[in-house]
């Protein structure tokens, strides 16, 4: 039972990161109908920048802020320079271009930093508190919950309470009408990519200290887990992606805890297959009918 509780909290902490990452995927999917397969590589790139800054200045938090800013810039840059020019007549084009970006980013990172794992320190202790003799949560877990919670709240406020958020939603759902009404649709797309990439960077900064460390391919498995989370929640649903992220986190934690860590990726694949084949619109999608395009 103690172990179960521990794994539950551990899973929720992991799940919060997957939720943030899945949220970033959903943001871009809603705006552009592209699944950003480069999200993981982009997050790793900003994490490398962040740890370079941290190493140079000795301040983790400066690096943390740099990661978020770098995420904003990288996201905006990728949209303006590459994604804007993708031919959308085939859904494969966006995927292939994003995969090309993955190769570029991983190659450039490897050239600059080398292909070894670099240790990544966490800003808080990862030793769990003991509550009633049971190790449950670490300071770092609390930090993860707070950071992801803040992102979810801020994004919700942005999209539901501000004129900018309204414009972004309008630009995503009816670009032509929005343009006629004076919404700068292109700018909104850039903003959406920038925000999503920053959220992805945050997720990367949160997850990398809990994994093996910094590596150009460090986020591959995280990307798969987050993609699964986004699919579980329905790619169109931000709330679904958060719930999906928590579900995937819990599942992975239980599987790793009881069956061994090496089984976890297979469990993700199995979950992805089951959800895609049975409820391709996600478990929480409001749209009951599958799109038959």
């Amino acid at each position: 039972m103690d172990r179960f509780l521990f794994l539950t909290f551990d899973g929720l902490s992991r799940g919060a990161v997957y939720a943030a990452f899945a949220l970033a995927l959903v943001l871009i999917w809603r705006a552009t109908r592209i699944v950003n397969f480069a999200q993981g590589a982009m997050a790793v790139a900003t994490a490398y920048v962040a740890y370079s800054v941290s190493d140079a200045t000795g301040s983790y938090w400066l690096g943390f802020i740099v990661a978020l800013v770098a995420g904003l810039l990288l996201g905006a840059g990728v949209e303006r320079v590459v994604m804007r020019f993708v031919d959308h007549s085939s859904p494969l084009n966006g995927v292939v271009v994003a995969l090309g970006l993955v190769l570029i980013i991983q190659g450039v990172l490897g050239m600059i930093y080398g292909n070894e794992f670099r240790p990544a320190t966490a800003p808080f202790s990862r030793d769990a508190f003991e509550i009633g003799g049971v190790a449950l949560l670490s300071r770092y877990d609390l930090f993860v919950f707070a950071a992801v919670g803040a992102v979810v709240v801020l994004l919700t406020l942005l999209f539901t309470r501000t004129p900018t958020g309204l414009r972004m939603r309008a630009a995503a759902f009816a670009p032509d009408v929005s343009r006629l009404l004076g919404v700068p649709v292109g700018g909104m797309l850039t903003l959406g990519w920038a925000l999503a990439a920053a959220v992805g960077s945050l997720a990367g900064m949160l997850v990398i200290p809990t994994e093996l460390g910094l590596h150009p391919t460090a986020m591959d498995i995280v990307f798969i887990s987050a993609f699964t989370a986004a699919v579980v929640g329905g790619l169109d649903s931000p709330i679904g992606s958060v719930l999906g992220g928590l579900m995937v986190g819990l599942l992975l934690s239980y599987i790793s805890g009881y069956l061994g860590a090496t089984v976890a990726p297979m469990a993700v694949l199995a979950l992805l297959v089951v959800v895609l084949l049975s409820r391709p619109d996600g478990l929480f999608s409001r749209r009951a009918k599958a799109r038959t395009a």
């Binding site: 031919d87 007549s89 085939s90 090309g100 570029i104 190659g107 050239m111 600059i112 993700v268 395009a293």
Partner: protein, 335 residues
């Protein structure tokens, strides 16, 4: 094969296609060129030639799947791993190479059928995500069942020495190119016939294809199975050449490289698959030399990686003709 060809002639009274080179001629000429090259090239170049042949098996199958049938697979690296591990296990037990290659192809075909059944129900990014997960899961499988697959170290492959009249490199080149030419020949016949037209019809407009009496799911699964068989063959050949298999030989980037290879050569063309296979061998070699000249180990692999990425992005943005023509009437849906 003859059945397919007969159908073509009865269905199309006057073939509107321009005459192309006969596949048989191409294969015979290709075999002659390869044999000639193996006697003139130095051993290392011959080895590279053999590698091109092994890659060609995979790229040819993948270009049929993605280019002609519109299904994007990022899992072909994993399918190659399936073929390679099957061959390794077989060789270490029976040491009968010819049968082992056939078994590797059959096992990979079966795995491909399973993935293909799921893939036939998915579209666009959903299919890409699923196959990406398949590619990422390989090391996990080898570590979980480490008694069979020996985890990250992988397995060595027992092989008999080549016939005495041949050097190792010559033997490898003959083996790989023999397999590659058979693959290309079979694929050329398949895609020229009814199966090829069915695949194109499904790719271009599923509704119209269904109205024409084509079973969408069956065509897509069949394309995936054929393509998986080719990947299994290529994987088995890589296992033979390296005399070992390990998950590190089949990383996610391998699957992305394969994608790059078929995009750059023109999707859906077997000649494009050959160009891609040559580039897969030539570009890392060039990057290796640049890295050595610069005295930087970091450059070596990563230069090729970056270059492949740039090529993929530039080709897709500047000349998306290949992929753009895949599903012109598709909307953004996934089903």
């Amino acid at each position: 094969m003859t059945v397919v060809r007969d159908r073509v002639t009865t269905r199309i009274a006057s073939p509107p296609m321009r005459r192309r080179l006969s596949p048989l001629l191409v294969v015979v000429a290709g075999a002659a060129i390869v044999v000639a090259l193996t006697y003139t090239l130095p051993p290392f170049r011959t080895y590279q030639l053999a590698t091109v042949g092994a890659y060609l098996c995979v790229t040819a199958g993948l270009t049929v799947l993605t280019g002609l049938n519109g299904q994007l697979s990022l899992g072909h690296g994993a399918l190659m791993a399936t073929g390679a591990y099957t061959l390794a296990l077989w060789q270490n037990k029976f040491n009968l190479l010819a049968v082992g290659i056939v078994v590797a192809v059959l096992v990979t075909t079966a795995v491909g059928a399973v993935i293909g059944l799921a893939a036939a129900r998915l579209r666009g990014p959903y299919l890409a995500g699923l196959t990406l997960a398949v590619a990422v899961v390989v090391p996990s499988i080898t570590s979980t069942f480490d008694e069979t697959f020996n985890s990250d170290q992988g397995l060595s492959v027992i092989l008999n020495p080549p016939p005495e009249s041949l050097t190792v490199e010559q033997w490898q080149a003959w083996l790989c190119w023999g397999a590659a030419l058979v693959t290309v020949f079979v694929l050329a016949l398949l895609t020229r016939g009814r199966f090829g037209r069915d695949m194109r019809a499904v790719r271009d407009d599923e509704t119209a294809a269904r109205l024409a009496g084509i079973s969408i799911a069956r065509t897509q699964v069949a394309a995936f199975v054929v393509s998986a068989a080719c990947a299994g063959l290529g994987g088995a050949l890589f296992a033979v050449m390296a005399q070992s298999v390990s998950p590190g030989a089949f990383p996610l980037t391998l699957s992305l490289f394969l994608l790059m290879a078929i995009v750059i050569g023109g999707l859906g063309r077997l000649s494009g698959a050959l160009i891609g296979a040559v580039l897969l061998v030539a570009l890392p070699a060039v990057a290796h030399e640049i890295g050595e000249a610069a005295g930087s180990q970091r450059l070596e692999g990563n230069l090729a990686l970056t270059f492949f990425g740039v090529v993929l992005v530039v080709v897709m943005l500047a000349a998306p003709g290949g992929l753009a023509s895949l599903r012109p009437f598709k909307k953004k849906g996934h089903r």
